[in-house]
């Protein structure tokens, strides 16, 4: 089998469409993971055990099961419990939930990196818990964790093809469809791989730069 440029050119729009879906799922998924992860990290620090323990269990449970199982569960078992969502929505939810358990650990490390004295000064100044979190602790904790969050963004991007199993047509889904229709696999899969590289390498460089810049901050 030789490389057919004309065929490759012809299937490119479909693959790009898939790439848009992939990027979309990643951005929505990471947003969910970043917000939910922070909430989980804060709940887990709660002094009320009725809050912190269940949170810790949920995090452990989700982290210890494969993303694919969670996707299947949400998509195929969800409707049994009246939870019916579109494929992409389900995929984003699955990615977001799964990665939230990782980002929550990242946030936790960031929060723990804030010295105790910062909390004590906040108490001594009688700051409310909301002010202490929002204006003292998180502004110090989050810059530290941005590079780690960036790495999860890239990891998530590479996990999006799993969504093909629940009928989301991402890059890989489109490539597979093209292959199934034309019986040519070389071009679609090669292009799919290249498209992934074309996004993830610049993204890695950006994350790396961000890391350097944050490290240089006073």
């Amino acid at each position: 089998m030789t490389w057919d440029w004309e065929f490759a050119w012809r299937i490119m729009p479909r693959l790009l469409e898939g790439l848009v879906t992939t990027v979309q799922a990643t951005l929505l998924g990471i947003t969910l993971a970043m917000v939910l992860g922070l909430v989980l990290a804060m709940l887990r620090r709660s002094e009320v055990r009725a809050i912190s323990w269940p949170t810790a269990w949920v995090v452990e449970f989700i982290r210890s099961t494969p993303l694919l199982v969670q996707l299947y569960f949400l998509y195929f078992v969800g409707p049994t419990f009246g939870l019916t969502m579109g494929a992409l929505t389900t995929g984003v939810l699955g990615l977001g939930l799964h990665y939230a358990t990782y980002t929550s650990e990242v946030y936790r490390a960031g929060i723990e990196s804030v010295p105790r004295g910062q909390w004590e000064a906040s108490t001594a100044l009688n700051l409310s818990p909301v002010t202490t979190w929002g204006r003292v602790v998180l502004p110090q904790a989050i810059p530290v964790v941005i590079p780690a969050l960036g790495n999860y963004l890239i990891a998530m991007f590479k996990d999006v093809p799993l969504l093909a199993t629940i009928t989301v047509l991402d890059v890989l889904g489109e490539a597979r469809a093209v292959g199934a229709q034309s019986f040519r696999y070389l071009e679609p899969y090669t292009l799919a791989g290249l498209l992934f590289l074309a996004v993830s390498i610049p993204a890695s460089i950006l994350v790396r730069q961000l890391e350097v810049r944050l490290a240089r901050r006073p």
Binding site: G117, T123, L125, R135, Q140
Partner: protein
Amino acid sequence: MPVDLDVPVHPRMSEVEGSAVRFQQVTKSFGDLVVLDDLDLDVAAGEKLVIVGPSGSGKTTILRVLMTLERPDSGLVQVNGDYLYHEERNGRLHAASQRHIRQVRRRIGMVFQHFNLFPHMTALENVSFAPRKVLGLSRSEGVEKAKDLLSSVGLGDKFDEHPSRLSGGQKQRVAIARALAMEPEVMLFDEVTSALDPELVGEVLGVLRDLAENTSMTMLLVTHEMGFAREIGDRVVMFDEGHVVEAGPPEQIFANPQEQRTRDFLHAVLDRK
């Protein structure tokens, strides 16, 4: 954690006597280590009380309990006649709500050994932040107040510096201004010169001396600076192993200590110099 006490509230003696701070039978342990052992301590309004004693004697815990950074295991703490960890309802004492604690805590300020400035804020923001958030000052009021206070501690030219660009002595002066900005009635100073290079101690002590002489604020100072303690203290408390060993005017404690433990301690400290 203080529990509900099924005892009648006794008359508010502190109101009668005008105590700013009163500890009654306060006990605090960390595991097997008893750091406050049935502590009774009264501090009069406006008094400058210096607490000295060996390291690890629990003297810092007195301040930390008062600042609600450590909860006492038992006993009562009063600030200007109000219970810090308890609320009175129907003539009985109950464990206080967070809200009540915050309300009473508002009268207390603290300066820490390691400054604990907010590193992501400038000197000006460090000082103006809490008055704006807690006392409800407007931005311009807060800034004006912060500028006044920073100038009064000799940092009129450092408004926009972040703490990382300040020396230890400057940081500690910002921290003092930050605590003062909340207008506390009682100020706690926890070994505020211990983390400083020797040549920077003087500038911080100068600010404290100024406060002691020119304000009616009640001050509790834990320090290892004996000369300074002697100079500004109205009363000195020698504290060891969870107990007040001896308390009295500086002249008595330093020149004519009654207890062997005090003598031993002073010997050890003064010999080191």
